[in-house]
Amino acid sequence: MLWQQLLNGLTLGSTYALIALGYTMVYGIVQLINFAHGEIYMVGAFVGLFLVITWDVNLGIAMVGAMAVCMVLGVLVERIAYRPLRGKSSRLSPLISALGASIFLSTLMALIAGVNTRRYPAVVDLSSYSLGPIQVSSMQVVILLVSAGLMIGLQFLVRRTRIGKAMRACSQDLDAAALMGINVNRVISYTFAIGSALAAAGGVMVGVYYNAVWPYMGTMAGLKAFAAAVLGGIGSIPGAMLGGLTLGIMEIMGVAYISSSFKDAIAFGILILVLILRPQGILGEKKNKKV
C-alpha cells in the first residue's frame, strides 16, 4: 500500500516538477511569475491530442510536436506580453499582463476546442504489471522515464553548454551579463522556450495518464506546480525538481491516508507552511539585500 502510493506520488510529482521548472527558470532570470505557464501546459496537451487524432501518431511524436509548438508559443507570449513592459514599469505590470495572457490562452482554447473534456485515443497499451505488491501501469513507466530523461537533459544544458552558462550568468546578474556582451533578450527567449517545452511534455503525458484534456486544466496544474517551485525554492532548478516530487508524494499520501476531498488543501497547506517556516524554500538561497 505504502509503496504503491509512493509510486503514484512520484508519477504525479514528476509532472509537477516538469511544469515547476518553467516557473523557476523564468523567475530566476526576470523575477516574473509567468502565470500563463499553466496554459502552455494545457496547449501542449491539446496539440498532442490533435496530432494523435488527426495523424494517428504515436505518443513520442505527439510529445515532440507539442513541445515544438509550445516552444514557439512560450517565446511569443514573452515577446508580446512581457518584453514591452520589461524595465519600463513597476514589477506589478508584467504580473498583471501574465494573468491576462493566461486568461486569453485558456479562453481561446475554449473557443477553438469547446469546453468539454476530451479523451485521448488509446496511444499507449494501458496494461499494468505487478512488481511484487505494486501495480505499475505502462503510462507510469513512460512518465517516470521521460521526466527523468528531460530533467537530466536540462541539467546538462544548464551546467555544460554555453547557452546554459549564459542563463546562469543572467540569473545571477542581468545587467552585468549584458555588459559582458551576453544578448539578454535572446537568453530570456531560450529560457521561455525550454520551460515551455518541458511543460508541453508534461501536458501530453498527463492528458494520456488521466485520459482527460480540457481548456482550463492548466489553472490548477499551474498553481500546484508554482507551489512546488516555491516549495523547492523559486529560482533553483534542483529545487523545482525536488519540490515537484515532494508535493506529488505528499498529495497522494494525503489522499490515501486522510481524505481525497483534502487533496488541494494539502498541497496549498504545505505551501503556506513552507512560506512561514522557510520562506526561501527547501533549496532556495537567502537573498541578501543589495544596499
Binding site: 553548454t161 554555453r162 547557452i163 552558462k165 550568468a169 546578474d173 555588459l179 559582458m180
Partner: protein, 254 residues
Amino acid sequence: MPVLELQGVSQEFGGLRALDSIDLQVEQNSIFGIIGPNGAGKTTLFNVITGIYPPTEGRLIFQDQPIAALSSHKVARLGIGRTFQNIRLFNRLSVIDNVKVAANWNRSAGLLASLLGLPSYSREQSQSQEKAEALIDMMGLYAKRMEYAQSLSYGEQRRLEIARALAAVPSLLLLDEPAAGMNSSEKLELMDLIWKIRDDMQLTILLVEHDMHLVMNICEQIAVLDYGRKIAEGDPDAIKRDPRVIQSYLGVER
C-alpha cells in the same frame, strides 16, 4: 586619433542633471583618468558609455561609430569592456566560466551544434578554454580556476573582474574604482597590472579612481568632474596645479 569621443553628453534623471554637456576625447592606447568628488557623475558616465541608459543629449562615438543608441550587449561586443565599483561577478559560476561566458559571442556554432556536440562546437570550446585559461593565468588565478567566484578573496575577485572584462578582447577597458579597498602593496601590483594590460593587449584604458597617488602615477590624461560638469582636463601636473580642481576636490595642502 581618439578611440572614444563624447560630444555634449548630458544625462538627466527626473530633474537632476547628472551629466552636463560633457566633451571628452580619449586617445588610442592611452590611460585616461576621471576623478571628482562623490556624486560628480563618474559612474553615470561609465553607465552612459556602456549603454545602460542612453544619454539624454549628445553623441558618443567609439572607433568612428555612434554608440549612444546601442544596447549594452552590443556596446560590449563592439569592444568596450568594464568592471564595477562594487564587484559584480557571477558568484555561482566557476572562475573560468566567469571568463568564458563573457568571451567572444560572435561565433559560428549555434545551439544545435552545441547540443549535438558537433566538431565545430568542440573546436570552439577548446579554443575558448585556452584563451580563458591564458587570461586567468595572467591574473594569477590559474590555481583557482575551478572554484566558485564567490569563494575568492577580495583582491582576487577584483582581478577576476578585470579578466572577465578582457575576455571579449576589448579595445577600450573601463575600470570603475579598481583600487577600492586595496592596501598599498596591492595598489602597486594593480598599477603594474594596468600597465601590463595596456602594453600587452594594445588597448585603451579609461578609469575612475579616488586614489590620487595611483591616478597621478599611471594616467597620462585626466578629466575632473564636479556636479556633472567637466571642470578641468589635462596631464597630471596640470591637474595638480589647477585652482578649480584644488578648490573642489583635491583640497589645499597645509
